[in-house]
Symmetry: C2
Subunit: 269 residues, 2 copies
């Protein structure tokens, strides 16, 4: 007797946007609603009720947003187009603030997580006296005027390949604390201070810990080169506090070949 042949499946790459506010984060938790559960629930309805596990590029924490998260799922093989899959998932994910922007068929060994070679995050600070009105939930509110020139100088000490133990959450499960930070840019647009971070991968809380530290430099509490000392200390307590999740968004994930290059989201609606 032989095992039955597995049903043929198609692997789909999905590019996702979501508001992190109502979620416990990407990953399923014992309690509370996760982005993963919303996506997998919708995908399961397209697979006749069978469970559809997903693999994701960046396991964002509770409250963290995404404009370009990437996940993959396997669905029963069929003649579905990317646009139809996107629309069907978006229909079933209502009313949650999670949407598929693009869906593209990929090779069966392609992985949203392991094929990724670049992650880009944006952290936004609202730097003014008044608390956020329209931007509530999507910015970190810092009242004290920030000197972005000093913050940029401090950021330059973190660029490159380093042991980022000082900027790593105690719960971080990565094997190595060594990462290569390719970009850490501080730009002001009026009342908004943007911090752009880019690397192959990040440690748990690394971006928020770097931002919390740069903020101390921006307010004048720290000299810029104290950030170099904090890095060299390889001890979490040497760096600043963790910035709140609200300001952070996963903007894009890069792959050797862009699975969405044909831009199915540009099909006429």
């Amino acid at each position: 007797m032989t095992d039955p042949a597995p049903s043929p499946t198609d692997r789909w790459a999905l590019r996702l946007e979501y508001h992190g506010g109502p979620f416990v984060g990407w990953q399923r938790q014992a309690a509370g609603l996760s982005v993963q559960a919303v996506l997998e629930g919708a995908a399961s309805r397209l697979a006749g009720g069978a469970p559809v596990p997903s693999i994701v590029a960046g396991r964002t924490d509770a409250g963290v947003h995404a404009r370009g998260q990437v996940a993959h799922i396997d669905l029963p093989a069929g003649a579905l187009t990317g646009g139809k899959l996107r629309d069907a998932l978006n229909f079933h994910m209502k009313p949650h603030p999670v949407v598929v922007l693009d869906a593209a068929r990929v090779a069966p060994d392609w992985s949203a997580r392991f094929s990724a070679e670049r992650r880009r995050y944006l952290f936004r600070i609202l730097n003014r006296s008044a608390r956020p009105g329209l931007e509530a939930g999507t910015v970190w509110h810092v009242r004290h005027p920030l000197d972005t020139g000093r913050m940029a100088e401090a950021a330059s000490h973190l660029l490159g390949r380093h042991d980022f133990t000082s900027f790593r959450a105690s719960a971080c499960q990565a094997n190595s604390p060594v990462r290569t930070l390719d970009r850490l840019e501080v730009v002001r647009h009026g009342e908004i201070v943007e911090i752009h971070a880019e690397a192959r991968s990040f440690l748990h809380h690394q971006v928020r810990n770097m931002v919390g530290t740069l903020k101390l430099v921006g307010t004048g509490d720290w000299a810029p080169d104290r950030v170099a000392a904090a890095l060299a200390a390889r001890h979490r307590a040497a760096a600043g506090p963790t910035a709140p999740a609200d300001g952070l968004a996963l903007m894009a994930v890069g792959y050797p070949t862009d699975p969405f290059a044909s831009r199915p989201d540009q099909e006429p609606g």
Copy 2:
């Protein structure tokens, strides 16, 4: 016997930001929470519980946002600074998404409404297949690709001094349907189509009715010059439908002299 002299008061101009989502609009209604009630409730606490009426430049509808609304109130005369008043009002308006950005003492005959000589609105359309994720509540979602060149051509027909009866809500209480539209600009930034409108004043629903009409041109349902015919018809049914409130924000109100020119919001926090 003479009447007691009125208690001396100071008139304050307030620049406000708010998310229109949770409100029935600026103005108090029989039921539901208004922005006006939140502001006046906070102001009343600073006046020892006495009622503090407010006058506003733009009575925004339910769901319409503001980044630069202006109102004025009278408070018992005192040594308050603009920064202290802003902070106190913002404290008492918690947790509602309404904040005072600036507060400035003005002349006793200055009026947020009658001294205003310019209003600027921004309407944002999210033009893509997927419904909004992060932008839910602050954009109008239009799936069909919009041709912004055609929309800009159509918009040019509305510039200048016209009878805007075709773009006026039936409930509009203005004495005259004649307005002078100084700017109606259509600009695309990726998936976002922005429509900027500027005039001394607008009729009720005028911006949303113009946007709803320009959208018909953008999708190809209307030729651009049909907008000129709709204007000439002076009949509401000749123009397009009213665009939803979510996409609209009052950005700025202009006065002969900017009451906030000293920028009290720039005081260190």
